[in-house]
């Protein structure tokens, strides 16, 4: 069992599902959904096993695999997970598993839909498990095309048409990944002299210690990566794809995008940005912190005036990503612990939110908040789910959102007291918009027009139960998550300690 | 002493001449001829490199063999297209074959 290629198996399971789906006849509608569900269940099971079997005390990369792929370029099919990537892998599988059930009612071209859904899952899972930068980029690019097709074919028009939203999303991500590619190539060429070059993240992370990467190079390359990952993470002002995209995309894609893909940006910033280019990260940190605060407050205020449920969650997720950014920018173990954990927390919460909005839209045929109201009468289960998701969003203790935010605040306050103060004020505005939407959608007088809407039941209930349980369990026992995350972040402590004296943008005027 | 630089210079000149022909000739056949010149210039380069940089392995020469094969294929197709175009339009005047604009 020791040498069983667990991570490859996790990646291969959905791929097998894709192959099977590919050869199924078009009419086998139910069958396809069953197969997608079964493959995702197996993948989720394997991931949970990995999470359980990961040795937190030992830390470091585990379940590693390494097969040379393009030896001349230094590309390896290298897999491995540590405390940073494993929670995010778990997140991917949880959300991916849920999306299958959320999409249970897709009856228009189900074959293509589920194949692409599984492709998205593979792409996200691949970015988290790979230890090779080039393969990372390959998996990352796997997202772009299915997202576009799914948005345009299965999406819905809102403030903007779905074609516009899909195109915007795709082009934004492509431009971001162009910057990313430029940064990665520059990194590749500069990290090692000819002949020794490699895309291995581990080896690249050594380059700084060996003195191969000058401060100048690190600053430039980090900036390129920041734009690339920042647009994925919906960093201000590179986020305008997010609300439109989420609103237009089908529920499953919104869940995966908001829940998982955004986290690839944050993961990349830490795994590539911080580990490989510590001086660059330090240089830009004050700037990131400033942007983070803008993210939090600006998006929170905009969320306050949204009228569409999906736009609301879209802007709110931008606001939440600000917490991740400021946690990253503070560059200490506590804050980065919080940032990584917050990515997990937000992913689950956001996915649950979108799943429920999908259900509400399914039943009532509207997402316009003023048209809704009193749904708790007809749909108590949806109401419970929305309560849990909303409460997690506003950082209620006992749900998974609180501890990550708290750790971020504790970590970030040391570095940026003023910014953190502003960031904490975000919790008030979050409460304001979350409670407003809960009140307006769920409570109030019973409305006759929704009497025909039945509550979620059967298969539709699975994602709600799974995600809701995760929110509660990880909230009540935060060490399950934080212990894992910390085992990945704590080894960075020597690196982070070195950075104290490193120069920052404008000598830290922004602080 | 004749060295690598000499051969490369000759190749560069042939290539430049081919380029000039490629860009100025009126007929497609003339353009194809210019392309052949350029291909030959490249072949000279390959063999010269093979001779002076890595004389003990014949990679460059193998490369040239494939170039020649491709060139032959290209001429065959190119001329066939010329015949075809000539039969359809009664001209081989390159400037008039501008359907691809916009």
């Amino acid at each position: 069992m020791a040498n069983f290629p667990l991570l490859t198996a996790i990646l291969l399971t959905p791929i097998c599902g894709i192959l099977v789906l590919f050869f199924l006849p078009r009419e086998a509608n139910k069958m396809m959904k069953m197969i997608a569900a079964v493959t995702m269940a197996v993948a989720l099971g394997l991931t949970v096993y990995a999470y359980w079997a990961y040795d937190v005390a030992l830390a470091g990369m585990q379940f590693t695999e390494d097969i040379p792929w393009v030896a001349d370029l230094g590309v390896h099919y290298a897999l491995g997970v540590d405390g940073i990537s494993l929670p995010l892998l778990l997140l991917t599988m949880l959300v991916g598993f849920s999306t299958v059930f959320v999409s249970w009612n897709v009856n228009e071209r189900p074959k293509e839909f589920f194949i692409q859904l599984l492709v998205l899952v593979v792409g996200a899972a691949g970015t988290f498990v790979t230890q090779d930068l080039l393969i990372f980029l390959l998996f990352y690019e796997l997202w772009v095309i299915p997202t576009y097709i799914m948005t345009v074919v299965w999406g819905s028009d809102k403030r903007v048409t779905k074609e516009y939203a899909g195109m915007k999303l795709t082009i934004y991500l492509l431009i971001g990944s162009a910057f990313l590619l430029a940064g990665v190539v520059a990194l590749y060429l500069n990290a090692y002299p000819a002949g020794l070059r490699t895309f291995s993240m581990e080896a690249l992370a050594q380059a700084h210690a060996l003195g191969n990467l000058s401060e100048h190079v690190q600053i430039v390359v980090f900036f390129l990566l920041l734009i690339g990952f920042g647009s994925t993470l919906s960093m201000w002002p590179l986020y305008s794809w997010a609300p439109d995209g989420y609103a237009a995309a089908p529920t499953g894609v919104s869940m995966l995008h908001a829940g998982v893909l955004k986290k690839v940006g944050g993961y990349g910033l830490i795994r590539v940005g911080l580990l490989v280019l510590p001086l660059g990260a330090k240089f830009w940190a004050p700037f990131i912190a400033l942007v983070a605060v803008v993210n939090i407050l600006y998006a929170a205020f905009i969320t306050l005036v949204q009228k569409d449920l999906k736009y609301l969650v879209g802007y709110s997720s931008i606001s939440h990503m600000g917490y991740v950014l400021i946690g990253f920018a503070a560059l200490n173990v506590i804050s980065i612990d919080g940032a990584v954990a917050n990515m997990f927390a937000h992913g689950v919460m956001c996915a649950l939110f979108f799943a429920l909005i999908g259900q509400v839209y399914d039943k009532t045929q509207t997402r316009h908040i003023p048209d809704l109201g009193g749904l708790a009468h007809q749909m108590p289960r949806v109401a419970t789910g929305l309560m849990i998701a909303g409460m997690s969003s506003l950082g209620l203790p006992g749900l998974v959102g609180f501890i990550p935010e708290f750790t971020i605040f504790v970590g970030a306050f040391k570095e940026y007291p003023f910014y953190t103060l502003l960031a904490i004020s975000g919790i008030v505005f979050t409460a304001l918009y979350i409670l407003r939407v809960l009140a307006n959608v769920l409570f109030g007088p019973r409305r006759e027009e929704f009497d025909a809407c039945r509550d979620v039941s059967g298969v539709e209930l699975i994602p709600l139960v799974v995600l809701g349980t995760v929110l509660v369990v990880f909230g009540v026992f935060p060490q399950l998550l934080m212990g894992m995350v910390n085992s990945g972040v704590e080894p960075l402590m020597p690196l982070l300690n070195q950075l104290h004296a490193a120069p920052t943008l404008l000598g830290g005027v922004f602080q | 002493m004749i060295g690598l630089a000499h051969f490369l210079t000759v190749a560069a000149m042939v290539f430049a001449i081919g380029l000039y022909g490629l860009l100025t000739k009126r007929t497609v056949v003339g353009i194809l001829m210019s392309i052949e010149l350029m291909l030959n210039a490249v072949n000279i380069n390959l063999i010269a490199f093979s001779r002076f940089i890595t004389p003990d392995v014949l990679t460059g020469q193998v490369f040239v063999i494939f170039t020649i094969a491709v060139a032959a294929a290209e001429v065959a197709i190119g001329l066939a297209m010329v015949f075809r175009v000539y039969r359809d339009r009664n001209t081989v005047h390159a400037a008039r074959l501008n359907e691809m604009r916009w």
């Binding site: 060429l189 305008s240 934080m482 704590e490 | -």
Partner: protein, 634 residues
Amino acid sequence: MFSQYALHHAWLIPLLPVIAFIIVGLFLRRIPVLSAAVSVCMSLLSFVLALGVGYGVIDQLITVDNPLIQRMPWLVIPGLTIDMGVYIDPLSAVMLIVVTLVSLMVQIYSIGYMRGDAGFGRFFAYLSLFSATMLGLVIAVNFVQLYVFWELVGLCSYLLIGYYFHKVSAREAAKKAFITTRIGDFGLLIGIVLLQILFGTLDFQHLGVSVPAYVAQQGTGLLTVVALLIFLGPIGKSGQFPLHVWLPDAMEGPTPVSALIHAATMVVAGVYLVARAFFLFSVLPNAMEVIAWIGAFTACFAASIAFTQRDIKRILAYSTISQLGYMMLALGVGSVTASMFHLTTHAFFKALMFLAAGAVLHGLPDKNDIFAMGGLRHKMPVTFAAMTIGVLAISGIPPFAGFFSKDEILLAASQVSMPLYVIAVLTSFMTAFYMTRLLVVVFCGPEKPDNHPHEAPVSMRIPLVVLGILAIIGGYIPYAYHFGDWVRFGPALHMGLNWTIAGTSTVLSVAAMALAWFIYGSGKATSDKLARRFSALYNLSYHKYYIDELYLWLNHTFVDGFGKLLYWIEIYVIEGIVNGLAHLSLQLGDWLRRKQTGNMQRYGYIMFGAALLIVAGLLLLNPLFKGVLCGGGY
């Protein structure tokens, strides 16, 4: 020994209601009888355990200086360790008993009050969850545990205020409660974060050691700021001015909830927090002064609003705010004992009054206005008796419970500051006045012909009787058994009645009651005349000084206005730039498209020329790009 067992298994006290919540919430929502039975049983067990803890504290000589603490790591990362645990000292023991007792009473009461309600099971699930979180708050060993449960009781309060969620007013009140307290929690959270950064720990016991040392070394400057930020939390939770606005609206919830959460237990969490963190506040004289003044002002201010309110529950709500101000005042003048004593007695008599009010509302459905009631004493004798006891207790008439605790507060205030004492006495006068007004208007006078009141069922009367007895004896017995020796901060101070102060306040209270009787009870409509005479003051008080309107206006104008402004920027500036760029590239493409002549040779030389220029440029600029371009250093 049972008390031994209770002391070491005190974590069961909050856990039992959690179990009740899970069982009822998941399985028994549709079965009213079982859900009530499970909840009440678990509450009873909790109460018994809490009594055991109380006995154990006395038996084992556990004092505030020698607490019994159990900890279990909850979150461990380098530089931030947070435990969950049980902190048992007389302070928390008193709270445990009060909370479990009132919670048990309210649950029994609810069986009758909520009978036939569609959400009966849900209601009991929420009540159990509330008990659990409140008890968790009481036994908190550190600030984070306290904050966790602090927020969770806020959630329960939100859920229960919005219990009748089909009512728009209930929904809005719930929202308002949550958001207003959140504003306070914002300060509390910052304060906690700052404490963690300053001291590296949030544990009460450890902080209790390091805070005085810090003050001795570094002075009080920053720590005062921290303390005031933390105090923002209690301001929100305990309805202190200026964040008191949510508490009257919270009366939209079912009356048992108002009794349990918004009178007896949750709202005093702020007082408990300050008492628990008294090691911090007591060394910061400036912070203490702020607390005292906010408390005194709130007490007086809320009483002045209660004068003119007509809704029976709102009057009680303002009186709660006022009494909470009293407790804060006591803390501000440095007397944890007085504050906690008043907290205890207040829990008894205020819960009693709320439950009595609930009985009235139960007897007269859909009538909230006290002037629509009247003459109920004949039809509802038990309720009348209960309310009378409550009014006497809150007015500070000996030997009712409120007398002893109020006297403690007045005594403590008089020792520190005369103005505070005067305000406190004035408030005491006002309290006696408006409470008597309530009693007289509701129960005395002629019966209204279209009212058909009936006495409450047995399950509602039992709690009234129990709490009534406690409101009578709940002051004297602790007084006689040296409450102050146990619940205190610093050295024990023996309580003694100061007859001057006690006498003054008693006389004033009696005078106020007489005045109220004269105005409202003597049958002459002098109250209307007074209202007309002082119409400006009356309106100001009746409209709660227009503070709600001000907040609403601020919220609409600034918060939403700012949101709209930013959304405008978002749509027209940021989106504009994005779409503008897209449009630009489209235009560029269109322009370039027209440059396509279809002439291959032209394409050819342009391409070649450009490529050559680039290569030539790179050749000339090679030193600049060395290593990045041009072969990457080959």
